[in-house]
Amino acid sequence: MDFFQIISDIAKVDPEVYDRLDPRRQVFRNFMSYGKKVTATALPLALGSIFNKAYGQSAGSLPDPVKAVLRLALQLEYLEFFFYDTALNSGNLLAGEPRAAIQIILNDEKLHIKSLRGLLGETDAGPALTRNDFDYTGAQSGSPTPRPALFPALGATFTDLGQFYTASQGFVDTGVRAYKGGAPILMTASNKDVLEAGLNIHSVEARHSSRIRSLRRGGIQSTTAPKSWITPDEVGTPVPLPNNGVPNSPSVVGPYNAGNPPAITTPAASYPAEDNVIQGAAPGVNVQTVAPGVSATAGAEAFDEPLDAQTVKAIAKNFARVPSALFN
């Protein structure tokens, strides 16, 4: 068997095979997972599996709850992508260093969309979303019962930098919490690369949040709020959001509010608000008092909190043009 003859033959019918088989990353990383076990007789089987992964068909073997986490993440990435894309196309809203920062974030979101679609496979990823799927004013303009705008300056083009930053921070921190809440589900996939991919997107979203927050306070050398990390007084901000009737979600939801259940029982299935200071398995450790001499807010700041999928959907539906159509 000549491995490279196989690839060469495939290239005749699929010129993109080399992209799919990124030699430094995709295929050979997959090979590594077989490395210790593979033998001459097992090799053809291993290769078959590798090609499955390269062609995105491994998703067929992903458990349904894992697919659900990835699909929700994908929709959130679209929400963010078109949000930043609209901002960059809104005249002079963004210039200089802030503009460059948002361009960097937009590029990441584009790549996250590509990565998530690759993990899911095209069938499970579904049709690409468009700008028209979202209404960033929060008025839900495609709903049978539209409502007053939450962010009136974030219409077809954005006209207010403050509202843009406020909404940005809410979106990105909701995204961080969504990935965090999804991780214990992603770990149930036998292919641990799926979990690691989720974690590697999660931390990038947290980096984005840190930057959005320093932009919002006027630059990294500013000492005004918000901090680059979440402070306990942010619970309840920026505005109370209705849950859009999403079952098993709190009646009022928000980027820093509690999810469901809010009580601290087990870390993998508890979704307290961002002012929580009890961490670890019950009865837990009070992280505000566990180390001496720290600031009064450090305990809550030092730990971000996850959100459950239902609460994430309840938040995100506020920014769907037709809330019944997205985040289900």
Binding site: F4, G35, A40, A100, K180, R207
Partner: protein
């Protein structure tokens, strides 16, 4: 595809070792691991493999189960906590004494967060906690803000290194965690480390909060993902800041 062509078509009983040569990143991943692998890689390059001694043989093994991962995280958090404690202690001539108000606020907050992370792991591990690590910061000049290429790096260079390493470490360790509650805890901490990393990077250079050294951001071929590191790869770096007798190895998490 260069020199990778032989490995997949000539697997042997030692395929694990030989195939290690296939992926550059995976190769790097193993460079901190036991030389049982390294010895195989070097076969043919050297006549005196027998003289190779595993330089990590005397390091403390963090273990093989979730307590191993938690002790690994505990060690990294101790390193960060000790570093920021020394930074914020300041004193005449130190960088911190002359830092801007924002820099002081950021570094003080991070000091608090890392002290809490370390204390939390110690409390959560209880009797399972390894003895406290002793740091060695002799390669850091606490009087200098940034000097990335000097013999002793500056405070913000070291902060950047620790924060980026912490993020890559938590992300790369996730696949080895068995209990979902421990994974959830790691997730609560890693995003705070990522917030730190982005803020420190921003202090050093505008709009480097995600950059190609830590995130795969190539607009065409990239994934938009953090470049996670497996524990042996992380410890190869972290051990540079741990004193003799405090250095760690994690052969079960390669």
């Amino acid at each position: 595809m260069h020199n990778q062509s032989n490995s997949p078509v000539a697997p042997t009983a030692a395929a694990g070792g030989l195939l290690t040569t296939v992926a550059r990143r995976s190769f790097l991943r193993y460079t901190g691991a036991s030389l049982a692998v390294g010895g195989l890689l070097l076969t043919g390059c050297s006549d005196d493999d027998d003289d190779i001694v595993d330089p990590t043989a005397n390091f403390t093994d963090v273990g093989s189960d979730d307590f191993g991962i938690l002790n690994y995280a505990y060690a990294l958090e101790q390193l960060e906590a000790a570093f920021y404690a020394q930074v914020v202690a300041g004193g005449a001539g130190t960088f911190f004494a002359g830092a801007t108000a924002a820099e002081k606020a950021i570094l003080t907050d991070i000091r608090d967060h890392e002290a809490i992370h370390a204390a939390f792991f110690k409390a959560a591990l209880g009797a399972k906690a390894l003895p406290a690590r002793v740091p060695d910061f002799s390669s850091i000049d606490f009087n200098v803000r940034t000097a990335p290429n000097a013999a002793k790096i500056g405070v913000l260079d070291a902060a950047k290194a620790f924060e980026d390493l912490g993020v890559a470490a938590y992300n790369g360790a996730g696949r080895f965690v068995q209990d979902a509650n421990n994974l959830a805890l790691a997730g609560k901490i890693v995003s705070v480390e990522a917030r730190h990393a982005a803020a420190i990077r921003e202090l050093l250079s505008p709009n480097t909060f995600v950059f190609s050294d830590v995130v795969d951001i190539d607009p065409n071929s990239g994934t938009g993902m953090e470049r996670s590191k497996r524990p042996p790869q992380v410890l190869e770096i972290a051990n540079k800041y741990l004193a003799e007798g405090s250095k760690l190895r994690a052969p079960s998490f390669a």
